[in-house]
């Protein structure tokens, strides 16, 4: 699905340590417009940390991240605009508990993008409809199932018209019967040509939807390639080992 070679995001020699604990060791890759990248790997290998560095929820220890060729670490970089363009969907949804479903999607548009209320609402209703959540616009997040919350979270991220969407294990906290609804919403998004980086344990999704797959291990990208290369012909012993365990379990 790589329709252009325009590079949106470039990660260069990224390192992240918490104290002495080096969680990311020298990570480099670039992302082209429209690409869907799945990141797989063992628990604790640094997948979440990688995503959180990309939108600066964590500060990189070393290295650089370029967005359209500009360093996001530069002093004069407009971080808020950047974050509005790089959305994130969390494992634990993180919908705003005090707001209704509709307001969760409307309020960020109004405050960050300064859209007027009517426009924000129309946009929100449209996106909520796409993820099948429009009947629930008046509900509070606490009144919804996990799968429903996650679909709202996806609509909320989409509403900002992001150039890149980051997903951190969006289905791990869900009951199995809810997983498909969310994966379907994500697949639909991928087909619109949106650039996505998806940390996931859903191997079928990684295999079917992604253009590229990164296998992370101990803070490095141990192997990367097309879905076919990684899943059919893994080169590295640790990739084979990981897949054997995961695929037999699934």
């Amino acid at each position: 699905m790589t329709d252009s070679n325009e590079t949106i995001l470039e990660v260069k020699d990224l390192k992240k340590a918490f104290g002495d604990h080096e969680v990311l060791k020298d990570i480099s890759f670039s992302v082209n417009r429209g690409e869907v990248i799945s990141v797989i790997g063992k628990s604790g290998s640094g997948k979440s940390t990688l995503l959180r560095n990309i939108n600066l929820l964590e500060e990189p220890t070393d290295g650089d991240i370029l967005f359209h060729g500009q360093s996001i670490l530069a002093d004069n970089f407009d971080l808020r605009q950047y974050r509005a363009h790089v959305g994130m969907v969390f494992q634990s949804f993180n919908l705003f508990h005090n707001l209704t479903v509709l307001d969760n999607v409307v309020v960020p548009q109004e405050t960050v993008l300064k859209r007027d209320a009517a426009e924000a609402k129309a946009h929100a209703l449209d996106l909520l409809k796409q993820v099948g959540m429009e009947p629930f616009i008046n509900a509070k997040p606490g009144q919804l199932s996990g799968g429903q919350q996650q679909r709202v979270a996806i609509a909320r991220a989409e509403a900002m018209d992001p150039e890149v969407l980051l997903f951190d294990e969006p289905t791990s906290a869900l009951d199995p019967e809810m997983v498909d609804d969310v994966l379907n919403a994500m697949t639909a998004l991928a087909h619109t040509g949106l650039t996505m980086i998806v940390v996931t344990h859903e191997m079928a999704f990684a295999q079917d939807v992604s253009d590229r797959v990164f296998f992370m291990d101990e803070g490095v990208i141990a192997e990367s390639g097309t879905a076919e290369q990684i899943f059919e012909h893994p080169q590295e012993a640790r990739t084979q080992e990981f897949l054997r365990r995961y695929l037999t379990r699934a």
Binding site: L57, M88, N98, V112
Partner: protein, 530 residues
């Protein structure tokens, strides 16, 4: 002449406060002259009948109480009028709690204390006294039907079980009753009257005005009229009443000259009038009806004041708490200079919180109201001082509550807001504070309720809130049990109403328990929100 134990505790707090204020402002003179505006400001409790009491009309030559719609009357008020006239000034009564009298005098808020006060050596250290304006006598109050009712001398009490108020010279005077059995001392007069009626004791030592009042209030009791030779031997320091003045008051000579002109006959007449005019309870109807009829308006005003102070105090305290709570939870800035400023600011806020949480509100009130007047000549309105203290005090508690409310919000909420590009301020206003405030609401309700109850300590600066009004009422009708029972009920009604109201607010903030699923296409197109 009076000495109630619990008042001592208040006095201690006020004393500590004054000590603090003096330490802080040791450069300033300790005595402040009141502005000479042609008024003679007299401090009294207006709740110690027959010497002074509060009434709702100007009957019998009463004097308006400053800043109030009520009037003061009694022996002290009549004396004050005479003295003011001699000074060529207009008399003004400043209703002041017992423990507030001395600080009010030395800080210049009043010109004189005429409040049934005896010139003890202890008091003479701080203030000056005029000559005697009333000399009391000791007596024994007994049951009218007992054999001691016929006693004519202090020698007629062989075998009688006698008590007196704790920590008073009355109790020592029991030794003069030959053959009497000294029972353990009791805390207050109502308790002694009950003990007397029930036969636990045969009598208690008291002073004549109290005896008259006891007889008045309860026809089963009487007090003994000893003649001079057969009565108690007393120290003038104990039974004499004098006018409290600031040291070196230039008017002292004039005041003494005027008092010298008032003969014993006039004094007795004034006391008899005072006893006759003092508010007595209406014994014909039900006690509750009588109490409410006579003192309802006073208690209602007290209730209003309590509600006003606690409401404004809580609202302003909440705003202070919100700002401080927000300030203390701002993220650490990157630049070193800003980081330093934030650290200093947070340190100051921490000091504010610790100081106001760590000292009793009664002391804070005394420091602000009396201390500031003595040390810095800062003359504050009582109600304003009360509002200020309650607000600042509440702010200290609520800022910790809000801080807790903010830190207890799931960090994922901050992350999601930041990941969407919201600023810290936007995040706080749209996402975090609504949740933090909602989480804090039960604790804020608690603060409100505590405020309603704790404003009672403001009687130390003579704010006429509910408890202060209750003291006035009980001091006049001597129905301590009934009065405080009614006042407890009022407090309970207030606090219960507040907690119910806040439950409703909480429910409102939580929104409806159930939501409507918008299945109909039309409804979805035009959803009803809000």
């Amino acid at each position: 002449m009076k000495n109630r134990i619990w008042r001592r505790a208040l006095g201690l707090a006020a004393g500590l406060a004054a000590a603090l204020a003096l330490a802080a402002g040791s450069l300033a003179p300790q005595s402040t002259q009141a502005a000479d505006d042609g008024t003679f400001k007299v401090g009294m409790e207006a709740g110690y009948a027959p010497f002074n009491w509060t009434q709702s009309t100007s009957a019998n030559g009463a004097v308006k109480i400053e800043g109030s719609s009520e009037w003061a009357n009694g022996y002290d008020v009549q004396m004050a009028k005479k003295v003011a006239k001699a000074l060529g000034k207009k008399v003004v009564v400043v209703k002041t709690s017992w423990d507030g009298l001395q600080p009010a005098l030395t800080s210049g808020k009043i010109d004189a204390i005429i409040a049934g006060m005896s010139p003890t050596a202890e008091r003479r250290k701080a203030i000056d006294f005029s000559s005697t304006y009333y000399a009391s006598k000791l007596t024994v109050v007994v049951r009218r039907d007992s054999k001691y009712a016929k006693a004519t001398s202090i020698k007629d009490f062989n075998g009688a079980k006698i008590t007196a108020q704790l920590n008073t010279f009355h109790y020592e005077a029991i030794n003069q009753l030959k053959g009497a059995i000294k029972e353990p001392a009791m805390n207050d007069f109502p308790a002694m009257r009950v003990a007397l009626e029930s036969g636990t004791i045969d009598g208690y030592v008291s002073e004549v005005p109290e005896g008259i009042t006891a007889e008045d209030a309860n026809p089963d009791l009487t007090y003994l009229r000893f003649d001079k030779a057969n009565g108690f031997k007393t120290n003038p320091e104990d039974v004499d009443l004098a006018i409290g003045l600031r040291k070196n008051d230039p008017d002292k000579a004039k005041i003494n000259a005027e008092l010298a002109k008032i003969p014993q006959k006039t004094r007795d007449r004034l006391m008899n009038e005072a006893v006759a005019n003092q508010p007595s309870s209406d014994s014909t109807s039900n006690w509750l009806v009588a109490l409410l009829k006579q003192y309802g308006p006073m208690l209602l005003r007290g209730t209003g004041m309590t509600l006003l102070i606690s409401l404004i105090g809580t609202v302003v305290g909440f705003l202070i708490g919100l700002l401080v709570g927000i300030a203390r939870t701002t993220p650490v800035p990157k630049s070193k200079g800003k980081r330093g400023l934030r650290a200093i600011g947070n340190w100051l806020l921490a000091v504010y919180i610790e100081v106001f949480r760590g000292t009793p509100m009664i002391v804070q009130a005394a420091v602000l109201y009396y201390g500031a007047a003595q040390a810095f000549h800062l003359n504050m309105d009582r109600t304003a001082a009360a509002l200020l203290i309650v607000s600042i005090n509440t702010g200290a508690y609520i800022s910790e509550i809000i801080r807790g409310g903010i830190t207890s919000v799931d960090p994922g909420q901050f992350e999601a807001a930041h990941a969407l590009g919201m600023t810290h301020l936007q995040t706080m206003i749209k996402v975090i504070l609504p949740q933090a405030i909602r989480n804090s609401l039960p604790a804020v309700t608690n603060e409100f309720i505590v405020n309603i109850k704790d404003t009672s300590v403001l009687s130390v600066i003579s704010v006429s809130e509910l408890f202060f009004s209750a003291e006035t009422v009980a001091g006049q009708n001597f129905q301590f049990f009934h009065t405080y029972l009614v006042v407890s009920a009022i407090y309970l009604i207030l606090t219960f109403t507040i907690s119910r109201l806040f439950r409703i607010v909480e429910k409102h903030m939580d929104g409806p328990k159930n939501y409507n699923v918008m299945t109909n296409q039309m409804q979805v197109e035009t959803p009803k929100i809000g």
